[in-house]
């Protein structure tokens, strides 16, 4: 249990400081002579007053309350919590990368533009697309850019009847939310008994009011959409474009490319597939790839290479561009890491990563299939989903199993997603975990299932070995306290 759970504000002592500034003789201006007095702050700014050591201890201690890939197994389905190589962080920390300004003359940032160009080229190859933009800041942001590109394409052709986007019932929540932000109606299409998109159902929804179909392949159940080529053919026949949600690309690098499956637009999650750290929820990068016919609509600027001079430039001359989706050129600090990973792994390494991710998922599924209900037969890709409803007979739920796992020092899988599996437990081990790690995890699950029979209370009251026990999330939402307010004396 934590001994000191004070906020940094509660450690503040007036007069202490954790900074210094160079000694220099600044001009003797009165601030009021520079900025009108009525504009100047009167009240104190209640930031903490603490020493450097206070800050170091405070945040070091806080960090130790976190579970992370660096500290333990993290089989969080759909999130690809693979190892994040330290090399990527070190190269991203080069001064020549971190201390460059977006509006420096382009001739002074040729190395950075080359890096972005190389990243684009590699991503094109991996995905089978013709053009890539690195601008989107996250997966959902990539979806946004991608759907806007599709929208721009239809509108440019004078095709204004397309008002809907088809999304499977197993889709990530970002898909329908993104469609909504682009002004589309969402049409949900069901999965069949095999856990893949129901071909007849989706075919019946394809007409000239549909702008796009958003698919994840493998889908969120970890199953490859076997009908993908047929879906693509049918969609294109009706003038519908196919969007690939790249969240699950870790299963297929070097094996099959979304571009070859018939997808017109996709986003990558560099923070999943290409090993950049998740950083407690971001920044990620949602680079978007498109087929050639969508190039005119890409956000500006596009990073290009001058074939004659070998220099790199930023191209703003795209009159049909959707404009910009964020300021500047994307999360460059993330792109550096992703390229370092691509350079380290190479073509064979990326393929090996996907293969071992798939091998690990199938192995773990095999180890658990007698203990947990696996609703879909056959092989899986890089993840699989179990149905935890068998726990109910003991009066416990998937949530309790997840909380109990915390006591064993591993992060639980994603739970209650996808929505089409009751009490879902979504497990993605990733390729960087060893056979022993998977076996240990399977043993933990088995132990917890035994405990569910013999001592369900143990599950319901878990975790007990974590820095805090279960927290009141409902109460916290009813009357939200979202900032610290100093106590009145």
């Amino acid at each position: 249990m934590r001994k000191d759970n004070r906020l940094i504000f509660e450690k503040s002592v007036p007069g202490r400081k954790g900074y210094d500034l160079p000694k220099e003789s600044l001009p003797d201006y009165d601030l009021k002579s520079l900025i009108p007095e009525e504009y100047l702050r009167e009240s104190d700014l209640n930031l903490p007053e603490v020493t450097e050591l206070d800050v170091v201890r405070h945040y070091t201690n806080l960090s130790q309350l976190n579970h992370s890939v660096d500290t333990g197994f993290y089989p969080l389905g759909s999130c690809t919590m693979k190892y994040n190589p330290k090399l990527n962080d070190s190269v991203a920390a080069y001064e020549g990368f971190h201390s460059i300004h977006p509006y420096q003359p382009v001739e002074t940032i040729q190395g950075a533009l080359e890096l972005m160009y190389l990243a684009q080229e590699a991503l094109k190859e991996i995905s089978g697309m013709d053009e890539v933009t690195l601008q989107p800041a996250a997966g959902a942001h990539g979806e946004y850019a991608g759907l806007r590109l599709i929208q721009a394409y239809h509108q440019d052709r004078g095709d204004r009847s397309r008002k809907t986007v088809i999304v499977p019932d197993s889709a990530h929540g970002t898909n329908p939310a993104t469609a909504m932000m682009c002004g589309y109606e969402v049409v949900e299409t069901p999965s069949n008994q095999n856990g893949t998109v129901d071909l007849d159902a989706i075919r019946s929804k394809m007409d000239d009011t549909v702008a796009a179909i958003m698919l994840t392949n493998p889908n969120t159940l970890g199953l490859f959409e076997r009908d993908i080529l047929e879906i693509a053919r049918l969609a294109h026949e009706k003038g519908i474009l196919l969007y690939y949600d790249g969240a699950n690309m870790n299963a297929i690098m070097g094996v099959i490319r979304p571009g070859d499956m018939g997808f017109d637009v996709l986003h990558f999650n560099l923070h999943k597939t290409l090993s950049t750290p998740h950083g407690m929820g971001g920044p990620g990068s949602g680079a978007v790839g498109v087929k050639k016919f969508l190039r005119p609509y890409l956000p500006v600027p596009q990073i290009g290479k001058d074939p004659n001079e070998g220099s790199y430039h930023m191209d703003y001359a795209l009159p049909k561009s959707i404009g910009k989706v964020r300021s500047f050129y994307g999360n460059f600090n993330v792109v550096i890491r992703a390229l370092a990973y691509i350079m380290s792994m190479g073509c064979d390494g990326l393929k090996c990563a996907s293969e071992m991710a798939v091998l690990n998922a199938n192995y773990l599924k095999k180890l658990l299939e007698e203990d947990l209900k696996i609703p879909y037969d056959g092989v899986c890709m890089h993840e699989f989903v179990a149905d935890g409803s068998l726990l109910k007979q003991y009066g416990v739920r998937t949530l309790d199993l997840a909380k109990r796992l915390l006591d064993f020092g591993v992060h639980p899988p994603t739970i209650y997603f996808p929505l089409i599996v009751p009490e879902a437990i979504m497990i993605e081990p990733t390729e960087t975990e060893s056979k022993e790690e998977l076996e240990q995890f399977a043993a933990m699950i088995r132990q917890i299932l035994r405990e569910a029979k013999t001592d369900p209370e143990l599950l319901k009251t878990s975790p007990t070995r974590t820095p805090v026990r279960r927290l009141d999330e409902v109460g916290a939402t009813k009357k939200p306290i979202v900032r610290y307010v100093p106590k009145e004396d």
Binding site: N5, L7, F9, R16, L21, P27, Y29, L31, I35, L40, R41, N46, P48, E49, V55, L65, N66, H67, S68, N84, E95, G96, F97, H98, I100, H101, Y103, Q104, P105, T108, G111, A137, A140, H141, R148, M180, M181, F224, H278, G279, M280, G281, G282, P283, G323, S327, F328, F332, M343, C347, K351, E355, M356, L359, Y363, V468, L471, D472, V482, R483
Partner: protein, 449 residues
């Protein structure tokens, strides 16, 4: 193929395949159509760490950077001195390699950091609630526009022409998607302030709100009181450079409904504009309309204080197409960086950094005011940057300054992509600019032929 990032040795692979009950990896990929499989992707073979490191260094060295050069570039991205403690703490693997705090019992580190971040943003802006970050200043402005239109149930929004042009471009993208009409509020070409009076003529019953900068894109500190007066029934959004709020009155004092912006200044390296940190703050009454993650205080079964994500039913993973936004990943790690930076600088330090930037910027401005071929363009009060009109194109200035190891100023012609900003540039100064560099810059400008 073997990689130090992949643990499997050949006999383990065989054992695992055997346990699964298949012959080969091919069998695991049986659902994938054979005719579309890739033979190989055409990217180079993998390299050893030492080689990747060297090749990356070579690219890094071909960038002239603000550590080696005195920089006067600003316009939304600023160079500051970043204390060593910031990267030393932020790069701890427990922070860097954790994901979204979906399991609060093992995420108290992240959650408490975000709660502290939200508190710091509220302190600076004077607002009641802040979220745990957005991507950048531009998307923060766009999300604020959407939120204003949701709250007011209207479909027009007014943006000052003196908002960062890239932010306006992003707002235009988002407005188009939701069929919101953007109107542009002009500015006074003498003072460089947004024209408040024009606001009163632009409002109709479809107008939800307006957005102004503080300071604005030209560096001028806007008269928020006047703007509030002319737009009194509108949802007022202020895009504030948060460092300036260490010395300026918080926008809450002028009745802002929302304060948003870019907090890269707080310990984040410029990274070509990539290490951005969007922030968003508002009043309690609007919390349920806010996008993005929000962290709240709670307690565990033993009554110990702890933190959790609150109001998740606003978010896409619960509400899907009815969510307040599609945002999932945010810029959490950059928020950690800002929180550590603000803790170190603290009450006095941040104010001192802001004062030093103001004084040094005015020191440079005074020198420029004495030059014949350079003049300050606008008369309004400014914080740490200002627009200068010169007798030469900005490219000429760069050509002269670069060999002297000076970067900047930012060319407005380039940023706006328009010849009407010919010969205009923005000089930006922070606490990290040494006085001798400012003197040297001024001397060079004087000597330009």
């Amino acid at each position: 193929m073997s990689s130090k990032y992949i643990p499997h040795v050949p006999n383990e692979i065989s054992e695992m395949l055997k346990t699964i009950g298949v012959q080969s990896m091919e069998d695991l990929y049986q659902d994938i159509p054979i005719k579309k499989r890739t033979c190989s992707i055409s990217i180079p073979e993998g390299q050893a760490e030492a080689d990747v490191s060297r090749n990356m260094k070579e690219m890094a060295q071909r960038n002239q950077n603000t550590q080696d050069y005195a920089s006067f570039c600003g316009c939304g991205v600023y160079h500051h001195y970043i204390p060593s403690v910031v990267s030393s703490l932020a790069n701890r693997g427990e922070f860097l390699t954790a994901y979204t705090p979906y399991q609060p019992e093992v995420s108290q580190g992240s959650l408490q950091v975000f709660f502290e971040f939200q508190t710091m943003i509220c302190e600076l802006t004077g607002m009641d609630v802040a979220n745990a970050s957005l991507y950048d200043g531009a998307t923060a402005c766009a999300e604020a526009m959407l939120m204003a239109c949701r709250i007011k149930k209207r479909d027009r929004f007014i943006v000052s022409e003196l908002i960062h042009p890239e932010y306006i471009q992003v707002m235009e993208t988002y407005a188009k998607g939701m069929q919101i009409t953007l109107d542009y509020l002009p500015y006074n070409h003498e003072t460089g302030e947004t024209d408040g009076q024009a606001l009163s003529h632009m409002i109709d019953d479809r107008t939800a709100g307006f957005l102004v900068g503080y300071p604005n894109f030209f560096g001028v500190v806007e008269n928020l009181e006047g703007l509030r007066h002319f737009g009194k029934d509108l949802f007022m959004v202020v895009c504030a450079q948060p460092l300036s709020l260490a010395i300026l009155k918080p926008p809450s004092r002028y009745g802002a409904d929302m304060v948003v912006g870019e907090a890269q200044s707080f310990g984040c390296h410029p990274y070509l504009g990539g290490m951005s940190l969007g922030y968003m703050s508002s009043h309690n009454q609007y919390i349920r309309q806010m996008p993005g993650r929000i962290i709240g205080e709670s307690h565990d079964l033993d009554g110990n204080r702890g933190f959790v994500m609150v109001l998740q039913t606003r978010e896409q993973h619960i509400r899907r197409s009815k969510a307040t936004s599609n945002i999932c990943s945010n810029h959490a790690h950059n928020a950690l960086v800002a929180t550590i930076y603000l803790s170190l600088l603290g009450k006095q330090g941040l104010r001192q950094v802001a004062i030093n930037a103001t004084k040094k910027a005015h020191y440079l401005a005074e020198k420029i005011d004495r030059m014949e071929r350079f003049r300050r363009k606008y008369s309004g009060p400014f914080f740490n940057e200002f627009v200068v009109e010169s007798d030469f194109p900005t490219e000429e200035i760069h050509k002269d300054l670069l060999p002297q190891k000076i970067l900047g100023p930012v060319s407005l012609e380039r940023v706006y992509g328009s010849p009407s900003f010919h010969h205009l540039s923005v000089f930006s100064v922070t606490e990290a600019n040494r006085l001798e560099d400012i003197d040297f810059l001024a001397a060079r400008l004087e000597e330009m032929l």
